[in-house]
């Protein structure tokens, strides 16, 4: 049932460029899609482990810069005559490196904060994002600082027998973003339904008990941070190759806030939550812009958020699911309890 709904949604999203030809709207959908990927990755931490990453945009921005620099190349003086020179690689290599390096940053931040715990993760992530932003702003030889990295090439994919396809148009990029979003959704879904995901949920609900049944806090949370950061890095890479120009503003705190809003309004801890919240708050500004002045746009934005959270405190998806009786304790589980017919005596 749930899978059918997911597939129908995917089919719907896939059909959009067929009937929606307005480039302005398509552009809004692409950037929204990229931010939805970021929000999904944030949800893995916030919704499934309870850890708030208020510097989440750092992983996104690192992905954007890594991917851009990998495909642009650079020549950076380190000390005296010693330079690090990198010749441009294909953008797809940048995309993969973005995932790896962002994931590694997630590992470092996780290691640093999860062994100490508490509000530490929030603080470490915020500080991390600020440090990375300052590096991007000031290491001009590498990043061009405020002058921005420009002319970032579009992603090129090799199709067997058909040569190369440069994903330059909005049409192409829409499908690229949709594909990455679908893969991320699938990966996160598999993860949270595995025993790793159950360990995360256990830690979020009752850490003392989780630890007492053998769940390793640091390992479990760090794993979530790595995967979350890696996916955010992938989103950042897509952003860089689509917009084709990035400057240190990609690290703006407001972007993290946007992702948090997407997750919380849609429903944290729900796989579809960030998608629903993302579509609403990604597209809302697009529809408000032509009809009201900027101040009124922000107020409306805030009012919509407050109304959603007032009516559906747990977020749109969980609240609707509860209303429709699709709560977590669904019919599929009942069946699985009945699988074993053997007497309990044998197995205790």
């Amino acid at each position: 049932m749930k899978q059918i709904v997911t597939l129908l949604c995917l089919a719907f999203f896939a059909s959009v460029p067929m009937w929606l030809t307005d480039p302005y709207l398509l552009n809004a959908l692409i950037t929204t899609g990229i931010f939805i990927i970021g929000a999904m990755s944030l949800n893995l931490l916030l919704g499934f482990t309870g850890q708030l990453s208020l510097g989440h945009i750092a992983f996104f921005g690192i992905g954007a810069y890594v991917s851009a620099l990998t495909s642009l190349g650079f020549d950076v003086p380190i000390y005296g005559d010693f330079h690090i020179v990198h010749v441009p690689w294909p953008p797809i290599a940048g995309f993969l490196l973005a995932i790896v390096i962002s994931g590694f940053c997630g590992y470092l931040v996780g290691r640093l904060s999860f062994s100490v715990r508490g509000a530490y993760f929030v603080i470490v992530t915020i500080s991390f994002a600020e440090v990375v932003r300052l590096v991007a702003l000031n290491w001009v030889e590498l990043t061009q600082g405020p002058l921005a990295l420009t002319n970032i090439p579009s992603i090129t994919i090799g199709l067997p027998g058909l040569g190369y396809l440069v994903l330059k148009t909005k049409f192409h990029n829409y499908y690229l973003v949709l594909a990455v979003a679908a893969i991320s959704y699938f990966l996160i879904s598999r993860l949270v339904h595995s025993h790793y995901g159950r360990a995360m949920r256990g830690l979020m609900e009752n850490e003392t008990l989780a630890v007492a049944v053998g769940i390793d806090v640091t390992k479990t949370l760090t794993l979530a941070a790595v995967i979350s950061a890696g996916i955010a890095g992938a989103a950042g890479s897509l952003y860089a190759h689509y917009i084709r120009i990035i400057d240190p503003d990609v690290f703006a705190f407001i972007s993290t806030v946007t992702m948090v809003i997407m997750v919380v309004s849609g429903g944290k801890g729900s796989l579809a939550g960030p998608v629903v919240g993302g579509v609403i708050f990604g597209l809302l500004p697009v529809f408000l812009r032509p009809i009201m002045p900027p101040e009124a746009q922000w107020i409306t934005y805030g009012v919509v958020l407050i109304v959603i959270l007032f009516v559906m405190p747990r977020g749109i998806v969980p609240s609707l699911a509860a209303k429709l009786g699709l709560a977590r304790a669904g019919g599929t589980r009942r069946a699985s309890v009945a699988v074993s017919e053997r007497t309990a005596e044998e197995h205790a």
Partner: protein
């Protein structure tokens, strides 16, 4: 000679000026049911916290299956098969009973080798088989503990007594070699307690050593092979139920609390 599973050697715990445990020494043999009893505040839960790595003792050592547990984290100790339950009801309240047990099966879910994560995410055969085995095992445990009818209810919505059972099922899911139970029957009525005693015996008969903290004296007397009595952080008596029942120091300790009834009750049930 019986094989020692757990031994507590010269353990002391201080909270600021308060001496919660002073120089505690005792051991539990393989396959035994040992009870640790004592008036409120005697230090029983504190002793459990030391054994399971939640507290570091000021002095002394805990040995489990020949290994010193010093410096080990709680999850590492659980990994060795020393599993505890908690005095305050302890479940994952927003998960179903069935999912609670599944979370408890975490140790069973770990696949050997470095690629476990990739296998789980990609749904490769080994991970799928393991997932299936966990689900079957969870269903068995839920049934065995007698909560089949509540399997799909949120654990937080269960009665207090039922939640205690979920706590035990969770602990069993973690594959204990030794189980530490902290007041498991508090909040249960007489018939629930009776069933629970059968359950404990059953668990022991399957080779799990048990250390029990409990205030329900009739239950303690009937189920224990040996009893260790704690008062003000000190062991004041140790021996089989019959000896403990008659031990003047024990009666004194409980009388001091105005617990004459307990002693009487014990005599009645003898």
């Amino acid at each position: 000679m019986a094989e020692t599973v757990l031994s507590i050697e010269h353990v002391a715990v201080h909270f600021g000026g308060l001496v919660a445990i002073s120089d505690m020494n005792f051991h539990v043999n393989k396959g035994e049911i040992v009870s640790l009893i004592g008036p409120n505040g005697a230090g029983k839960t504190t002793a459990f916290n030391v054994m399971t790595g939640f507290l570091t003792p000021a002095k002394g050592a805990v040995n489990y299956c020949g290994a010193d547990l010093k410096g080990k984290k709680p999850h590492e100790i659980a990994d060795l098969g020393l599993i505890r339950t908690f005095q305050r009801t302890s479940v994952f309240p927003n998960d179903t009973v069935y999912d609670n047990v599944l979370i408890g099966l975490h140790r069973q879910g770990e696949l050997k080798g470095k690629l476990g994560l990739a296998e789980a995410i990609l749904g490769l055969p080994r991970a799928r088989a393991s997932e299936k085995a966990q689900r079957a095992r969870a269903a068995e445990l839920v049934r065995w503990i007698g909560l089949e009818a509540r399997a799909n209810d949120l654990a937080g919505s269960l009665s207090y007594g039922e939640q205690r059972l979920v706590g035990v099922a969770l602990a069993l899911a973690a594959q204990p070699k030794m189980l530490l139970l902290d007041e498991p029957v508090s909040g249960m009525n007489a018939s629930e307690t009776h069933t629970f005693v059968q359950l404990i015996r059953n668990i022991r008969d399957r080779g799990v050593t048990i250390l029990l903290v409990e205030h329900d004296m009739p239950m303690v007397m009937s189920v224990s092979d040996r009893i260790v009595v704690l008062n003000y952080g000190r062991i004041i008596a140790e021996g089989p139920p019959d000896e403990i029942r008659k031990n003047p120091a024990v009666i004194e300790a409980y009388l001091g609390q105005g617990a004459k009834d307990v002693v009487k009750e014990v005599a009645v049930h003898a």
